[in-house]
């Protein structure tokens, strides 16, 4: 389903006014992939009709569009597939080849922490079945405010409604008034700090798995290359890079092997020899 040029320009304007994000022509696929699910829910059958509702000022719809196009991660277990693959395939595989028995996972562009904590909850399920292992999640974001929010580990009722499997809510959260706070065991597994993906990750620990989802789409090609290089510099050989499902596979270079698993976009780092 493709979006008309004028409709794309309108949506790009809307996003530009409300955030610093610049959706240049060429990003149509991104806008389409984010809008089509919203369009289905709204009951419209084509994007033109959907965008004309935005033009008429449907505030609820406008908010959801801005959200979908600017926020990196506001959902728990967003897209499901990468998390299934994490537990079933990536985690057992890196554990097998780990020399230190310490698994480090980087949630890059972690936003308010839902991705990082989703991974932490899966690790808490996994660790007791794999004695002798240790694990941690490191989350980084370019927004200080987001880092602060993620570190607090406290979410509103509206936020915990978004994609969190309810057994996890019951097991790993405490209710405080109308808010929900992650239990200490989950928060202890994850740390969050400020970081710019386009700069070399100085002081960043070596990682086994990196989640870098729905981020690259916002960068121009040279920056994209730099970001991937920065990830490679801290990812151990044999480790995995997980990208967003809506992202077309960029050419990562000869050091990477694409691993097709279910609906997740995963690349394995083969080592530094070739480049």
């Amino acid at each position: 389903m493709s979006i008309a040029t004028t409709d794309f320009a309108f949506v790009a304007d809307l996003v530009r006014q409300r955030s610093a994000i610049d959706l240049q022509p060429g990003k149509e696929y991104l806008v389409e992939s984010r809008l089509v699910p919203l369009m289905r829910i709204s009951g419209e059958s084509d994007l033109a009709a959907f965008v004309s509702r935005l033009r008429r000022g449907d505030q609820k719809l406008i908010d959801s569009v801005i959200d979908a196009l600017t926020t990196n991660e506001t959902l728990w277990f967003r897209d499901t597939a990468p998390f299934d693959v994490f537990t079933k395939q990536l985690l057992p595989d890196v554990a097998k080849t780990s020399l230190t028995k310490k698994i480090t996972v980087w949630s890059a562009a972690c936003s308010s922490g839902q991705e990082g904590y989703s991974l932490a909850m899966l690790l808490l399920d996994w660790l007791p079945r794999n004695p002798g292992f240790d694990a941690k999640i490191v989350g980084t974001d370019i927004s200080h405010k987001m880092v602060e929010r993620a570190s607090a580990g406290k979410y509103s009722q509206l936020e915990i409604n978004r994609g969190l499997r309810v057994p996890y809510l019951v097991k790993y959260f405490d209710q405080v008034g109308r808010d929900w706070v992650l239990k200490k065991e989950v928060r202890d597994l994850a740390t969050f700090k400020w970081g710019n993906l386009a700069q070399p990750p100085i002081g960043h620990p070596q990682c086994d798995i990196i989640f870098l989802r729905n981020v690259l789409i916002y960068f121009d090609p040279p920056t994209k290359k730099r970001v991937i290089e920065n990830c490679r510099s801290v990812l151990r050989p044999g480790g995995y890079l997980v990208l967003g499902g809506a992202e077309t596979a960029p050419s990562l270079g000869p050091n990477w092997k694409r691993v097709d698993v279910d609906r997740a976009v995963v690349f394995q780092h083969l080592g530094n020899g070739a480049s």
Binding site: Q59, K60, L158, G177, R178
Partner: protein, 172 residues
Amino acid sequence: MIDPAELAAAQPDLEMLLVEMIASVLGEQAEPTAEPLPAAVGLAVSRLVIQDPQDGSFLGVDVRAEGNLITTLAATLLGVAEPAPDDMLDVIAELGNIAAGNVKSLLCHNGQLSLPAPQLAFEHEGDSPDAIRAGASLLGNVMELVVMPLHSADAKTRWPSGSAQHSAEVGV
């Protein structure tokens, strides 16, 4: 019995709850307001009661809005051109229900929630001094959420099946 200071301190939370509820159920942007409901205008009012399991005390939760606003909302939500009084009652009842459930987790953990009692009225008597009010403006109208300690529940209060109060009523 809820502590009056605790109730007063919850005012900002009630305001946020009201604005959130309006956004997600009605899809309308609302702003907190101190403006009261206009006097002598048709109102839609929903009353629910929460009973504290510890001491048996009661908390009343009202959601009130101008009749005009509820007519507009009923038309959108139910997809009818000219909403009947029943349609308006249904709308205010469900708003009251959602608000009260959230008030319960905020102020009266594990309390028992009654079923909503909605009505259309031309005025209301004014609230007791210990009532806490939150208001929000939307579509040029005002909606308010008022929480107050009650000495007793109205005898006509309906309790959901499965609750102790319901069992007592039907003599189970």
